[in-house]
C-alpha cells in the first residue's frame, strides 16, 4: 500500500508529539495554585510550543494542498471514508484554532507572546478584561474537542491495524518495518 510522503509523515508526528506535550503542559500549569516561577516558566513554554504547532500546521496545510495523500483502500465503506475525511478536516481546523485561541487569550490578558523569549510576536488586540474569560473558555473547550477527536483518530488507526489489518495505519508510521506494506 502506498505510504504518505516522508514530509507528511515527519510533520504528522512532529505536530502529534507537540500537541500531546503542549496539551499536557497546559493542564499541569493551570493546576499550579498561586504564582510560582515554575508556573510562569511553563506558561511561556506552553505558548512557544503552541506557536510552533501553528507554524508547523501552516506548513502542513501547504504541503497537503500540493501533495495528495494516498487513496483510501478500496474495501473501505463510503461512510467510513466520509467519517475519516471529516475527522481529518476537523483536526486541520483545530491545529489552527487551538493555538490561535490561546494566542488571543494571552493578548487579551495583556501578555504578548515573545517566541523563545527572543522574538516579540504581533500584538493584534489590546488587553481586554471583558474578552479574556470568553477566550479562556474558548481555548479550553477547543482543547477538549481536540482531545476527543485525537482519541477518535487514534482508535480508528488501531481499528485499521488490529481489526481491518489493511495497512492504513502503517502508511503513516515513521519507519516502515513491515515489508508487506512498502
Amino acid at each position: 500500500m502506498q505510504r504518505y510522503s516522508s514530509v507528511a509523515i515527519a510533520l504528522h508526528w512532529l505536530i502529534a508529539i507537540l500537541i500531546v506535550g503542549t496539551f499536557t503542559l497546559g493542564l499541569v500549569m493551570t493546576d499550579i495554585p498561586g504564582l510560582t516561577p515554575t508556573k510562569l516558566r511553563y506558561f511561556s513554554w506552553h505558548k512557544w510550543a503552541g506557536v510552533t504547532v501553528l507554524a508547523l500546521a501552516a506548513l502542513r496545510l501547504l504541503w497537503r494542498l500540493r501533495s495528495r495523500p494516498p487513496a483510501y483502500p478500496a474495501h473501505m465503506p463510503t461512510w467510513q471514508r466520509h467519517a475519516a475525511h471529516s475527522l481529518h478536516g476537523l483536526l486541520y481546523v483545530l491545529m489552527f484554532a487551538v493555538p490561535l485561541s490561546g494566542y488571543f487569550y494571552s493578548l487579551a490578558a495583556g501578555v504578548p507572546v515573545v517566541y523563545f523569549g527572543l522574538f516579540p510576536l504581533p500584538v493584534l488586540i489590546e488587553a481586554d478584561a471583558a474578552l479574556k474569560p470568553t477566550l479562556g473558555a474558548l481555548h479550553y473547550w477547543l482543547n477538549m474537542l481536540l482531545a476527543a477527536l485525537v482519541a477518535a483518530h487514534v482508535l480508528a488507526a488501531f481499528k485499521h491495524l488490529l481489526l481491518d489489518r489493511d495497512g492504513v495505519m502503517q502508511r503513516m508510521l515513521p519507519f516502515s518495518t513491515n515489508k508487506e506494506f512498502r
Binding site: 498561586g34 504564582l35 510560582t36 516561577p37 510562569l40 516558566r41 511561556s44 490578558a109 495583556g110 501578555v111 504578548p112 507572546v113 515573545v114 523569549g117 527572543l118 488587553a127 478584561a129 479574556k132
Partner: protein, 187 residues
C-alpha cells in the same frame, strides 16, 4: 471709607486674594486623567500593571518651577495584573507585603527647570520600607486649564526587596521595572 464702600471693596478684592492664595496651594489632581503603572519583563515579555489607587499632590507654578513640590502616594494593594489570583499573590510578603507596607511614596527634594516643558526631578522613593534617592526627567504640558505631568522612572525591584526568595531570580522577572506616570492637575 464708608462701611458700604469697605464692604464693596472687600467683595471685589476677595477673588484676587483667592487667586493669590490658589497659587500657593497645591494643584488639584484630576485622577480620571491620571495614571501610574509599572512595566516589568517576565521572561522577556513586557507586562504592564496599573495601580488603581494613588494620590498626587503637585505644587507647581510655571513662573517659579524651582519652587515646585511633588508628592505621590501609591496604594500597593491596588496593583492590577489583570488577574484576581495574581493580584492576591503580589500582595503577599515576598512581593509588596501590602499588610505591612500599604503605601509606596515619592516625595520630591528638588525640581529644576530643564528647558521648555521639561523639569528634572529628584526625590526620595519609598517602597516596602526601603527609601532610595531617585532622579528622573518630567515633562509638563498645558491642557486647557490643567497641566499634564508625564514621566517614567526606571528602578531596580530588588533594591526594594520586591520579589524575595525564589523570585530573586532575575531570569524569570527582570530586575528593572519602569514606573510610568501621568498626572493631570489644575487649579
Amino acid at each position: 471709607m464708608t462701611p458700604l464702600r469697605a464692604l464693596l471693596a472687600a467683595v471685589f478684592a476677595a477673588p484676587l486674594f483667592a487667586a493669590a492664595a490658589a497659587y500657593a496651594a497645591p494643584l488639584k489632581t484630576d485622577l480620571a486623567k491620571s495614571s501610574v503603572s509599572a512595566t516589568f519583563k517576565q521572561m522577556n515579555v513586557p507586562v504592564e500593571a496599573k495601580f488603581k489607587t494613588f494620590t498626587a499632590q503637585i505644587d507647581y507654578d510655571a513662573a517659579k518651577p524651582e519652587a515646585s513640590k511633588a508628592a505621590v502616594d501609591i496604594g500597593t494593594a491596588s496593583m492590577d495584573l489583570g488577574d484576581a489570583e495574581y493580584n492576591r499573590e503580589v500582595a503577599k510578603k515576598e512581593w509588596f507585603n501590602t499588610a505591612q507596607f500599604p503605601k509606596a511614596t515619592f516625595v520630591s527634594t528638588s525640581i529644576k527647570p530643564a528647558g521648555a516643558g521639561k523639569l528634572n526631578v529628584a526625590g526620595k522613593l519609598t517602597i516596602k520600607g526601603k527609601t532610595a534617592d531617585v532622579a528622573f526627567p518630567l515633562t509638563v504640558k498645558a491642557d486647557g486649564k490643567q497641566q499634564v505631568f508625564e514621566g517614567q522612572l526606571p528602578i531596580k525591584r530588588l533594591a526594594f526587596n520586591i520579589g524575595e526568595g525564589e523570585w530573586k531570580d532575575t531570569s524569570m522577572v527582570a530586575d528593572e521595572v519602569v514606573i510610568k506616570f501621568r498626572v493631570t492637575a489644575g487649579q
